[in-house]
């Protein structure tokens, strides 16, 4: 099987994942990721028409919670792991262009 991931695709994925990769790292990683993907893809050879695709291992549906308020964390607890905080809010580095 030929390389299923191109070097460009790996570079794009690295950008999406906010990982800085050097040219040398791209050269090194792209073929490796392809091998991994191809290995996983070999599972598709086992699939047959009578095996429905599944995304969940548990044979469960409709697991619900009633709409009842439960205790929250205190703001002190919530912010205890924050590297920076101000005005009882999480302080994060400036954001450019990624607003949802």
């Amino acid at each position: 099987m030929s390389a299923s991931l191109s070097r460009d695709e790996v570079a794009h994925l690295a950008t999406l994942a906010r990982i800085d990769l050097t040219e040398a790292e791209l050269d090194h990683l792209a073929p490796q990721l392809s091998v991994i993907l191809d290995s996983v893809a070999s599972l598709q050879g086992v699939a047959s028409a009578d095996v429905p695709p599944t995304s969940h291992a548990l044979p469960l549906t409709n697991v619900f919670r009633e709409d009842v308020v439960e205790p929250c964390l205190t703001p002190e607890q919530a912010l205890s792991g924050a590297p920076e905080q101000e005005l009882q809010r999480f302080s994060v580095p400036r954001i450019l262009g990624d607003e949802q």
Binding site: L16, R18, S55, H56, L58, L60, T61, N62, V63, F64, R65, E66, D67, V68, V69, E70, P71, C72, L73, T74, P75, A78, L79, G81, E84, E86, L87, Q88, R89, F90, S91, V92, P93, R94, I95, L96, G97, D98, E99, Q100
Partner: protein, 500 residues
């Protein structure tokens, strides 16, 4: 003020050369007691980061569990929009790095929405337009960022951002239309009518506060232009932050004119997010729109699929309210309101209140008069919705009944409302405690009239000479003497009797 260098083509010329295609995405924030996947309160506001827990903060080891009532609301919205309800659907992770979601992903639905293939018939200037619904899916709201530093408070130029996660995880239903083509010059009006009537539907369902100004209902406007008659779809832009019905209409119109300017000059439209600016009525470039695959959606492994049993769906169908358009027509006929009176009542968010006031015994016109006059003014002054004023339809009906009986006049009735706002009890208790009832003691009234005549001999002479219009001055004097607690019509009768 944000300004623009965009070339805008006059609206009429846009229509000569291009066909617009519209798409609307409306996010509805549900009014459940708790968030979508955890038991934190979904209440608006609160001190920063007080409605948070390990799940909505995305802390390691926490696990989400779906709110049953949010699923019910999603299904009811879907049914009201004539959608099919999926027999099986799942959640998906939408991955991105903006810190408004502490998990680095938003839990949403992607390839398997819970509701799909519906429609809503929209009245536009007396004409019915069918808007096809592509899907309605469940997801969660994001946290609120405040940008610090920089000049404008917007993202660009900010030094850092502060995030409050109280809103993160509040249930949202995103309702997406199919492209609306063929609307031509009516495209802006169709967009407005759709969002407005969708809001009516959401209110009738009772699943959201549905206030656009508070962000309970948020519209994104997709627009593209194609050469006239080509039957194709052009590249679209998605305009966000459109927070009123009027803005929806203006944003569509603006983007049509802007697209035409770009296309006329031989340019091509960039597929991007645009920001709507309410103050100047323009859009500015946001970010380039990511392809869906850049969000690397994948099935949410921590939530099992939802397979709504058909009995449950049918049970929920039984809870649907009367279709709002039909209901409005029925009520207008029953009440004898003019088109304008009806539009004003609906626009003020008073339809339900007026309906309940009438049900409590008031005449339709009296109910409308109080809610759209005195009470609308007070709600406006205090910046709250009519429904949150603290006055019930039963109160209004009782006060009007006292007016009808002749026990109160309008001026005294307003003082009873003062008492209601001050929490002084029921209308009858307030009338008694404040001594507001009209004085029906003829002896006292007669004495006051005699005193007024004696104090104003020249006015009395005029009336004796047949200048009945002069009676107003004497009525005023009597009403003052009686501290407003007299029936002005009876006072007038007494004056004319005595001076004839």
């Amino acid at each position: 003020m944000t300004t623009t260098t965009d070339t805008l083509v006059p609206f009429d010329e846009v229509l000569e050369r291009y066909d617009p295609a519209l798409g609307l995405e409306v996010h509805v924030e549900l009014n459940t007691a708790t968030k979508m996947f955890c038991g934190c309160p979904a209440a608006f506001g609160g001190e920063p980061n007080t409605h948070v827990c390990p799940t909505c903060l995305g802390l390691p080891g926490s696990m989400p569990v779906v709110n049953r009532r949010a699923v019910e609301s999603a299904i009811r919205i879907g049914l009201a929009l004539n959608c099919s309800i999926a027999e099986w659907c799942r959640f998906a992770r939408k991955n991105y790095f903006y810190p408004d979601m502490p998990k680095n992903f938003q839990t949403s639905q992607y390839d398997e929405p819970i509701c799909f293939d519906g429609f809503m018939d929209v009245d536009v200037d007396g004409e019915t337009v069918r808007v096809e619904i592509e899907r309605a899916h469940m997801e969660e709201d994001t946290g609120k960022s405040t940008h610090v530093g920089g000049l404008t408070g917007r993202i660009h130029g900010a030094d850092y951002s502060l995030v409050d996660y109280n809103r993160a995880g509040i249930p949202l239903i995103e309702i997406v239309t199919k492209p609306i083509v063929g609307a031509g010059e009516k495209a802006p009006a169709v967009a407005r009518a759709y969002v407005s009537q969708l809001r009516d539907l959401i209110v009738a369902l009772g699943v959201s506060e549905a206030r656009m100004d508070q962000g309970n209902l948020r519209a994104d406007v997709n627009l593209s232009l194609a050469p006239k008659g080509s039957g194709t779809l052009g590249t679209r832009t998605e305009t966000k932050n459109v927070n009123s019905f009027r803005s929806v209409e203006r944003a569509v119109r603006y983007e049509m004119q802007r697209h035409a300017g770009v296309l006329d000059a031989g340019g091509s439209i960039l597929q991007e997010t645009r920001h709507w600016h309410e103050d100047t009525g323009i859009t500015t470039s946001g970010r380039e729109k990511s392809d869906a695959e850049d969000y690397r959606y994948f099935p949410e492994p921590d939530l099992v699929p939802i397979a709504p049993p058909r009995e449950w769906v049918e049970e929920l169908r039984g809870t649907l309210p009367e279709n709002p358009t039909e209901k409005r027509a029925r009520l207008q006929a029953e009440w004898g309101f003019s088109d304008l009176e009806m539009r004003d009542t609906v626009g003020a968010g008073a339809l339900g209140l007026v309906e309940e006031t009438i049900a409590a015994g008031s005449s339709p016109q009296a109910a409308r008069k109080w809610w759209l006059g005195e009470l609308a003014r007070r709600a406006n002054d205090s910046g709250v919705d009519l429904a949150d004023l603290g006055v019930t339809p039963a109160d209004v009906a009782r006060i009007q009944a006292l007016v009808d009986e002749g026990a109160l006049n309008d001026k005294l009735a307003r003082q009873v409302f003062d008492g209601l706002f001050a929490g002084e009890g029921t209308p009858d208790e307030i009338v008694a405690a404040r001594g507001l009832a009209i004085v029906s003691d003829e002896g006292a009234l007669s004495a006051a009239v005699d005193a007024a005549i004696a104090a104003n001999p020249d006015v009395a002479d005029k009336i004796r000479d047949g200048k009945v219009a002069a009676a107003g001055a004497l009525i005023g004097a009597v009403m003052k003497e009686m501290k407003g607690q007299a029936d002005a019509a009876r006072v007038r009768e007494l004056i004319l009797d005595k001076l004839s």
